[in-house]
């Protein structure tokens, strides 16, 4: 087996154009796929729950009012809203993948908003968002979408709060009733103050002791100072009236850029390993040496293992090289590099086994290469279709097809290795696929050699 492997490497070394293509092409395809990952489904299904009782959705602010239903409608406008009974059902739907996320408006949001507007203190109002981080592409899309919609809804509130703030300024200017920390104040207003001061100054003898009007002016000045102290809170309330509290299911939260790096590495691994494994075996058929070899010189299983090993080693090398280069620009957890290598090696074994199975089917190298391309790229794209982008039935079909192909488990394993997940299940999945494809190739090999 060692001599066959050296022979294959020597043949590869004599094809610099092929090697250059094998290095550059996967990188280009990986980049293109990475770019395509920046977009998600247009109207994702999202569970929605408004816990605020129907009669308490309007907030009175002095003479003005805010209808929080209008706020919620803005929030839900860009999603395919799925109403749920309670938080438990929302969490179940997210966990099962029936919805991309859940948006929950807590019962206390109106009280908190009222407190924020009235400067009564207490925690800021927040809505709850639950999403499943099992698919980083999906999770990132949901985060972006909901944050965008919360920002839109906040703009609606900002308009209303600006009107309220303008009312406060009017009180400061003209005088009137003003509530701070639950206490009502009668505010004199700057105009009245000026009138009083002007009148007092006009009537004031040099030795007058009209202390009372001056005290009134002094009190107003103090109140104005206090209001200026509170203005930063008012501005904060206007800048972001409602915040987001996130809950992540599935235990990990892989950033999209790390996910894209994983996709790029696995696409490279897939293309290099599949093309080489299928091509090297097909080359033995094309050169007519397959029958001579398995007649007794090499055991069929060893021959297949040699091809898968050479292809897998080259694919692993290219994928790790790509990770190392990308790691210069994207922060990666280098302390987990051993796990990256393990995930990539397991993926290489499965892709190598699939490659030799394709090589057994194809009669010559060109056919093997074409078959590898035709099969691998669509299946790789299928594996990154976000849940919620297609109907539930179609997604189930896609999931089954993806599970039969090493791309998705290899991507999941590398995602776990790049993040902080456990990849035991994915490694087992890849081992099963490697065994099955290897067995298929082994059974079909004698027929191919005949």
């Amino acid at each position: 087996m060692r001599w066959l492997a050296l022979k294959d490497l020597r043949i590869l070394g004599r094809s610099p154009l092929l090697v250059a293509t094998l290095l550059l092409y996967p990188a280009i395809v990986a980049l293109l796929i990475g770019l395509s990952l920046s977009r998600g489904p247009d109207t994702p299904r999202v569970a929605v729950l408004n816990e605020v009782p129907a009669g308490e959705r309007t907030i009175a602010v002095g003479p003005a009012s805010i209808d929080t239903d209008r706020y919620a409608k803005e929030l839900f406008s860009a999603v395919d809203a799925v109403p749920v009974r309670d938080r438990k059902q929302a969490r179940e739907l997210v966990q099962s993948g029936e919805v991309l996320a859940a948006i929950i408006v807590p019962a206390d949001v109106t009280d908190r908003l009222k407190s924020a507007i009235n400067l009564s203190g207490g925690p800021a109002p927040q809505i709850d968002v639950i999403y499943n981080a099992g698919d980083p592409l999906k999770a990132n899309y949901v985060k972006s979408l909901i944050e965008s919609k919360v920002a839109d809804a906040n703009r609606v509130l900002q308009t209303r709060l600006t009107e309220i703030s303008a009312g406060y300024l009017g009180i400061l200017l003209r005088g009137g009733s003003f509530a701070v920390l639950g206490n009502d104040f009668e505010v004199l207003g700057l105009r009245h103050s000026k009138e009083i001061i002007d009148a007092t100054l006009g009537d004031l003898p040099p030795d007058s002791l009209h202390r009372a009007p001056l005290r009134e002016v002094s009190d107003f000045a103090q109140l104005a100072i206090d209001n200026l102290d509170l203005s930063d809170q008012v501005l904060a309330a206007v800048a972001e009236p409602v915040g987001i509290r996130r809950e992540v299911l599935d235990g990990r939260d892989t950033p999209l850029e790390t996910f894209a790096v994983g996709v790029a590495a696995i696409v490279s691994l897939m293309l290099v390993t599949l093309l080489l494994a299928s091509g090297l075996l097909a080359l033995e058929r094309q050169d007519n040496t397959l029958r001579r070899l398995i007649r007794g010189l090499v055991r069929p299983g060893a021959l297949l293992a040699e091809k898968a090993l050479v292809a897998g080693a080259c694919g692993t090398g290219v994928a790790l090289l790509l990770l190392a280069v990308v790691g210069i620009f994207v922060p990666l957890a280098w302390e987990r590099a051993g796990l990256w290598a393990l995930a990539i090696a397991a993926g290489a074994a499965a892709f190598g086994a699939l490659g030799v199975a394709l090589g057994v089917v194809a009669r010559e190298v060109q056919a093997a290469s074409l078959l590898a391309f035709v099969l691998s790229l669509p299946l790789a794209f299928l594996a990154v279709v976000p849940q919620g982008a297609v109907s539930a039935g179609l997604f189930d079909v896609i999931s089954v097809v993806s599970a039969l192909f090493p791309f998705e488990p290899a991507l999941d394993a590398l995602g776990d290795a790049l993040g902080d997940g456990a990849m035991g299940g994915d490694l087992l999945h890849l081992a099963v696929l490697a065994a099955v494809y290897g067995l298929v190739a082994r059974v079909a090999l004698p027929r191919a050699a005949a």
């Binding site: 001599w3 066959l4 022979k7 020597r10 043949i11 004599r14 094809s15 050169d287 007519n288 040496t289 029958r291 001579r292 070899l293 007649r295 007794g296 010189l297 090499v298 050699a449 005949a450």
Partner: protein, 239 residues
């Protein structure tokens, strides 16, 4: 004169009652074959007679549906009809690779000897894919002879060669036979079998119609055209 009339005396390879079916079609019908050390045995017959199938079964490359084959401990060399060498390796690299896979004891000496014996020394460093058909076939044959097998099975080794290359090939093969290697060769060329073989088996539709020295081929001695004689013989046998 009839098939299997020659008894295996000092056979290095012996097969009895070899049968092969492809679906309903009988490719080989209870064929008996033996070849002795240093003997050149030619298997001749029309297309579809079963020559290649017989060689592949004797080499172990294909399973049989009945019968038995006794192969020598020193192994069986096999030269398939189509070139089966690596086009992107040089002549020497091909020989060295197959010598290693054959587990030849002294690889360097065997490869050097084979380059000289097969007249490939001058082209040792050339890629096989850049060689002429004659040279490629010599490499193909040389690979089958690596490991010094007791018997070598050659499937139409001269089919694609011009007369001069053909003579060179036979010269090379006869030297091996003289050294004690048994050769079993299939060919379409009856004249070639007449000139070079010690014994001939005529195969048609999976049946062995004749097994004996070429001189005993029916009426061959009476006709200058060996192929015409064979055709006449086959027609007389109902094929």
């Amino acid at each position: 004169m009839c098939a299997a009339s020659h008894v295996a005396a000092d056979a290095v390879l012996q097969a009895r009652g070899v049968r092969k079916l492809f679906g309903e079609r009988h490719a080989l019908r209870a064929i008996d074959v033996h070849v002795d050390a240093g003997e050149v045995l030619a298997v001749i017959g029309p297309n579809g007679a079963g020559k290649t199938t017989l060689l592949e079964i004797l080499s172990g490359a294909q399973r049989m549906d009945g019968g038995e084959v006794d192969r020598p401990a020193r192994g069986v060399g096999w030269v398939p009809q189509q070139l089966s060498i690596h086009g992107r390796l040089t002549v020497e690299e091909n020989l060295r690779l197959f010598a290693r896979l054959e587990r030849v004891a002294d690889i360097e000496r065997s490869v050097a000897a084979m380059l000289d014996d097969a007249g490939l020394r001058e082209r040792a460093g050339d890629l096989v894919e850049r060689l002429s058909g004659g040279y490629r076939q010599r490499v193909n044959v040389a690979v089958g002879l690596l490991g010094d097998p007791a018997v070598v099975l050659l499937d139409e080794p001269s089919a694609s060669l011009d007369p001069r290359q053909r003579e060179r090939l036979w010269s090379f093969l006869e030297r091996r036979a003289a050294a004690g290697t048994a050769l079993l060769v299939t060919t379409h060329d009856v004249a070639e079998a007449w000139r070079h073989a010690d014994r001939v088996i005529v195969l048609a539709d999976g049946e062995a119609l004749f097994d004996g020295p070429p001189a005993e081929l029916p009426r061959a001695g009476d006709e200058a055209d060996f192929e015409a004689a064979l055709v006449r013989f086959l027609e007389e046998q109902g094929h």
